[in-house]
């Protein structure tokens, strides 16, 4: 029975590891300047923990194979427990140190670095169950947000007050995030009802949108294309269908798009 267990465990271990090595299911290629750092961190962790995983499972299998059903003199681990404990503390301790050191640098680069001063500023309003994006328009100023004016019926998702607020009149509100490639983007995330989340796998960015807070988020997309923005924070019955599209365009396409938007 020990051999059965050992063989089974070895099979399970190898089968489990195969798709990781073969990258059968793997994060989509990153399109952000900070993405490679995340991937590097991910790979490093994958290697280190992979070694831990394989070795510990195989040792378990080996010992069960060797000592399963054995009837004899009890043997003890040579050297007693001290080396074992020390080994565990040192190995894992080193891993912890390296990972947290490098990892926190990657993290800091994403969320703690100050946004570029020339960054293109886009305002994000999340609601059950959609995202809406606001550009300041020709005057470059965002109109104020008045919750009492918010109405899905009139398409006033941001609660603008064009009657009294001139800055609000030329604000452009659209349903998909259109940005120029290789340009620093600064998003201000806010929600009008419950907690939502702004997640773009390709950007390697995931950040909650919390009621009552204006949360800044900045990134730079390096590859044109159409990507999906999804909500990853449980927000109600339509959570699974809450998404928008991220359109990364060349600067020229973006300019013409913007002109067309402010046209009508």
């Amino acid at each position: 029975m020990g051999k059965v267990f050992a063989v089974l465990l070895v099979i399970i271990t190898l089968v489990s590891v195969y798709p990781i090595i073969a990258h059968t299911w793997w994060p989509p290629p990153t399109i952000s300047t900070t993405g490679p750092g995340v991937d590097g961190q991910m790979n490093e962790t994958m290697i280190e923990t992979g070694i831990l995983f394989l070795s510990s499972q195989l040792i378990l299998a080996g010992f069960v194979w060797a000592f399963g059903g054995r009837k004899g003199k009890i043997k003890h681990w040579p050297g007693g427990h001290k080396p074992v404990v020390a080994f565990g503390i040192i190995i894992v301790g080193l891993e912890v140190l390296s990972l947290s050191f490098v990892g926190s640098k990657v993290w800091a680069a994403m969320y703690m670095a100050a946004p570029n001063a020339q960054a293109l500023h886009v305002d994000v309003q999340a609601e059950q169950f959609a995202f809406f994006f606001r550009y300041a328009g020709p005057d470059g100023v965002f109109g104020g947000i008045h919750p009492e004016k918010i109405s899905d019926a009139t398409g006033n998702y941001f609660g603008l007050d064009p009657e009294n607020d001139v800055a609000a009149r030329d604000d452009i509100v659209v349903g998909s995030l259109t940005i120029p490639v290789n340009t620093p983007i600064l998003l201000t995330l806010h929600t009008k009802d419950v907690i939502h989340n702004f997640y773009v796998p390709e950007l390697r960015i995931q950040l909650d949108i919390v009621p009552g807070l204006d949360i800044p988020l900045h990134f730079t997309a390096t590859k044109t294309g159409r990507y999906e923005i999804v909500c990853t924070q449980l927000c109600g019955l339509g959570h699974y269908s809450m998404r928008a599209f991220l359109e990364v365009m060349s600067q020229s396409d973006y300019d013409s798009w913007l002109k067309q938007q402010s046209g009508d």
Partner: protein
């Protein structure tokens, strides 16, 4: 010595005679332990059925499940589960499993039954509190289940019940009216029950140990229950206020969690200035220790059972394992922030929280190494219990490994709300804890019901479950790596469509593994009435529970308190009998 009445009374209460006092409102810790175990058994069955429904919906979204429409007309018109009902199932699955299974069975259930016996006491310190704690928990369970039968169904805000989804009320969606209220009340009651229980465990362990039962001689399972009680005392004392504030926000119009200017379904909410993150801090300050409330008893139980089947004490004796458990319990209060890396809190605090989170892997790793090192050179005996111990070690490794990823904010920012997390906590907390429960059941049932469980069925149960859980939860890691978001009722995004076959595979695996559990149920209930009688010490184990009858008399040791002369795990002795019981006088010839 089965007949306690022939013995001098050491129990300050007379043995009960009426059925009610004996089996329903019993003050006997053994009966209460079995009651907790039974409650957990009922809960885990419900929770498993819920997970089946969820898996079926994820695999085949428009599948009509026959008969379901009769259970919930709104939730499943024509038997097809609606997205909101999926979220209800998910919420109830999480709440039932975490609170009423993973907390009740290994801690309250086995703890109640065996903690007093293992320290040679005749009962818990406060039998009335003990009874109260069970019945409060029972009412909490009924209140939670009642949510299935209110008008707009169970809550949809997940077991974490994040405001503002959970604190606004009906505008937030179906289930957020009465269902969420019932949820909150149930959790508050559960906290009270657990506080009473933890208090009892601590006082009992500190003061009711019999002659010679020093702390150093306490079995590791008792140590684990004691440490868990200490964790639980603080954790539930923190969740209770949080829940009270949530109830007030929902019903009394206060604004603890609800900020101003919320517009939900075109309705401006009458709140001001609250902080949704406040709930997350309060909740996870409870929530992460809760994870260890679920798993530390597992560590203790495995460390207690393993020596009996490897016929040698654990490597490094008691000290290392106890140290690991204490370190885990202590660190568990510094790491709650790793649940909030992407919650919009100050990014600097993410780094502060990630370091202790990574450090907490050290005691866990040491524990695993100790188990591995102990198996070396052992006379490993294969029983259902020992197989589940080995399985526990394997899944505990698998689950712990993925923790390294999620402990780092830089990687968590990609994996945070994906199936990678689901895989992680199911492996390390759910499956590991369940394996601990199974091991404990096969190990202790002979003592608890006085009959031996069927080993053949037990082993088949192990093989199927072991393969099954890997088939269910390993692929979830891959889904997470591919960015598959969790808590989605169905997958409509382009980047998720290719992953649906994986979900179908998981669903099939889940159904089969769930079906395998009926072997266990059959084994358990058949044994209860028709199993062969169990000897007092079937596993040739050393600790006190094996030095009394199976099942033990009302006062556990038949009118006396045992005297302890030996450490808890004197295995591997020379001579015909390779173990020395704790009650055997004289110097142990064992290692």
């Amino acid at each position: 010595m089965n007949d306690a009445s022939a013995q001098p009374e050491i129990h300050h209460l007379a043995p009960p005679h009426s059925f009610i006092r004996k089996h329903v409102f019993s003050l006997d810790h053994k009966v209460i332990g079995l009651q907790y175990y039974g409650l957990a058994l009922a809960a885990v069955f419900i929770g498993m059925v819920l997970s089946w429904l969820m898996r079926l919906h994820l695999g085949w979204t428009s599948l009509a499940i026959p008969g379901l429409q009769h259970f919930s007309q709104n939730g499943a018109p024509g038997g097809v589960i609606t997205p909101e009902y999926y979220l209800s199932l998910m919420t109830m699955h999480g709440t039932i499993m975490i609170f009423f299974v993973l907390t009740n069975a290994p801690f309250s259930g086995f703890g109640n039954y065996f903690l007093p016996i293992q320290i040679g006491a005749e009962d818990m310190a406060f039998p009335r509190f003990n009874m109260m704690s069970f019945w409060v928990t029972f009412v909490a369970f009924l209140v939670l289940i009642a949510a299935f039968f209110v008008h707009d169904g169970p809550p949809i805000s997940g077991w974490t019940a994040y405001p503002t989804l959970s604190s606004i009320g009906k505008d937030a969606g179906p289930g957020e009216a009465m269902g969420q209220n019932l949820w909150a009340v149930s959790i508050a009651l559960f906290c009270i029950g657990q506080l009473l229980g933890s208090l009892n465990f601590i006082a009992t362990t500190l003061d009711l140990r019999t002659k010679g039962m020093t702390l150093a001689r306490m079995p590791l399972s008792t140590w684990a229950w004691f440490i868990t009680a200490c964790i639980g005392l603080l954790a539930f004392a923190d969740l209770l206020p949080a829940t009270i504030l949530l109830i007030l926000d929902r019903t009394a119009g206060t604004s603890f969690f609800n900020p101003a200017g919320l517009v939900v379904s075109d309705t401006l909410q009458p709140h001001s200035g609250g902080s949704p993150l406040l709930w997350q801090h309060l909740f996870w300050f409870f929530g992460h220790p809760e994870v260890y409330i679920a798993i530390v008893p597992g560590l203790g139980i495995i460390s207690h059972i393993l020596p009996a089947f490897i016929r040698k004490p654990l490597l490094g004796g008691m000290r290392v394992m106890v140290g690991c458990m204490i370190a885990i319990g202590f660190l568990s209060y510094m790491v709650w922030g790793h649940h909030m890396f992407v919650s919009g809190m100050n990014p600097f605090s993410a780094i502060l929280f990630s370091v202790p989170t990574l450090i907490i892997t050290i005691p866990n790793t040491v524990a695993v190494l100790i188990w591995l090192g102990s198996i070396y050179g052992a006379n490993l005996r294969f029983t259902s219990a020992s197989l589940f111990c080995l399985g526990f070690i394997s899944v505990f490794i698998s689950g712990g490994i993925s923790g390294f990823f999620l402990a780092q904010p830089a990687i968590d920012t990609y994996l945070h709300a994906t199936y990678f997390v689901v895989a992680h906590f199911h492996f390390v907390m759910a499956v590991a804890a369940i394996f601990g429960i199974f091991a404990a059941t096969y190990f202790w049932m002979p003592k608890m019901i006085g009959r031996m469980m069927n080993e053949t069925l037990g082993k088949w149960h192990f093989w199927l479950t072991f393969i099954g859980v890997y088939c269910i939860f390993m692929p979830m890691h891959y889904l997470g790596l591919a960015g598959n978001v969790r808590r989605y009722a169905t997958f409509t995004d382009n980047f998720l469509l290719p992953l649906i076959p994986v979900h179908k595979f998981i669903t099939v695996a889940a159904l089969l593994t769930g079906a395998a559990q009926f072997i266990f149920l059959y084994n358990l209930f058949h044994t209860r009435w028709w199993g062969p009688k169990a000897p007092d010490n079937p596993w040739e184990a050393t600790s006190l529970e094996w030095s009394t009858t199976s099942p033990p008399p009302f006062d556990n040791f038949g009118g006396k308190h045992p005297v302890v002369y030996q450490d808890a795990y004197e295995y591997g002795a020379e001579g015909p009998q390779d173990y020395v019981m704790q009650t055997t006088p004289g110097k142990a010839s064992a290692t």
